[in-house]
Amino acid sequence: MKRIIVAAATAVLLSAAAAGADNVAGYTADAQQSKLEFTGVQAGAEFKGVFHKFTAAVDFAPDALAGSHIDVQIDMNSVDSMDKDRDTTMRGKDIFDVAHMPTAHYVTKTISKTAAGFSAVGALTLHGVTKDVPIDFQFTNAAGGAKLAGTAKLNRLDFGVGQGDWKSTEWVGDAVKVSFSLVLKPKS
């Protein structure tokens, strides 16, 4: 009897999970309202930059994380740190090398629930190097629309971002903070 109950319960759970996966909602990020920002440290002081151009495809349901994905493509040439000299330097061959590596790509592998929201581990391809980067995020789905916002931390040198003199971390820090806010529209 006990076995039958366990089997039945497992079947219910599995079908629920399968149904959940089918019910994952597909979204794309609204280019105008979404934001992708990074904070680096230069000569001891923080500086912020944004990427103006990126696209995000999100399949997400809080109760069907196995079937959820976040996939972001970033146009590295759209970097803007509010100083054209610094932007030109960053696009150059010793830093982002946008001539050879024009895009960066992030795609989640696993997403899990945390006390504060969700966390995911995904593969980031930046400057031609692919490494796992964890992110923490919140998902809200209000009447006005869905929103996915969170943060990540990475080390630029893990991706070879900074060649030659820029390999030194004395004046430009290795750690970079990333924050993102995706305003989601249902996939048409």
């Binding site: 230069q42 000569a43 001891g44 002081a45 923080e46 500086f47 740190s81 509010m82 100083d83 054209k84 000299d85 610094r86 030109t88 330097t89 003199d165 820029w166 030194s168 004395e170 004046w171 430009v172």
Partner: protein
């Protein structure tokens, strides 16, 4: 060496401010000239980071120096000086005090306008005074440079005047700012 100024000598505190700030200003000119023609790169970043940290040090010292000056009378100028010389000496010193504030402040504003926040030796970051503004940056850069030439000019005048007092007038104007020397008793 007395803590407060005597009628014919600068105090140890006043001498300390004078020589430490003078050394920092020489360092500042050297760093700025070295960085000026470099392309944006690690070397320039490093030089300008030091320039900013030393500049903010000058600003902090300038605050304390001005307070000290306001509450402590410096020794009197030698009796034999003409009216013109007195006005010139006073004017130069007032201008020095103005530039001790104006140089770091225009530099700080410049950094803010360019969106390169000022760190103090990596220990802490000063707040930005204004937002990112390319036009304001160019204007402030010109101002900072022009003021630096003014500072350079009055520093030369100041040094020549001190030497003139010492070797030509043979008074104690230079000696009373020099540590480890004795000023002559004035009659």
């Amino acid at each position: 060496m007395p803590i407060s100024s005597s009628p014919n000598r600068y105090s140890a505190v006043a001498q300390g401010f004078h020589w430490i700030i003078a050394g920092l200003i020489v360092t500042q000119f050297t760093l700025a000239w070295m960085a000026e023609d470099l392309p944006l790169g690690m070397h320039k970043l490093a030089l300008l980071a030091r320039h900013k940290s030393f500049g903010m040090t000058v600003l902090m010292l300038a605050v304390f120096r001005l307070l000290w000056r306001l509450f402590n009378r410096p020794p009197e100028l030698p009796a034999g000086m003409s009216k013109t010389e007195r006005v010139l000496a006073k004017g130069t010193h007032v201008l020095f005090y103005i530039l001790l504030f104006a140089m770091p402040l225009t530099g700080w504003l410049m950094s803010s306008a360019k969106n390169y926040s000022v760190s103090w030796f990596g220990r802490f970051t000063w707040p930005d005074l204004i937002g990112k503004n390319e036009q304001a940056f160019e204007l402030l850069k010109t101002t900072h440079q022009t003021l630096s030439w003014l500072l350079f000019a009055i520093a030369i005048l100041h040094i020549l005047a001190a030497l003139k007092h010492h070797f030509w007038n043979k008074d104690d104007v230079l000696r009373r700012m020099l540590p480890f020397t004795k000023s002559e008793k004035r009659s």
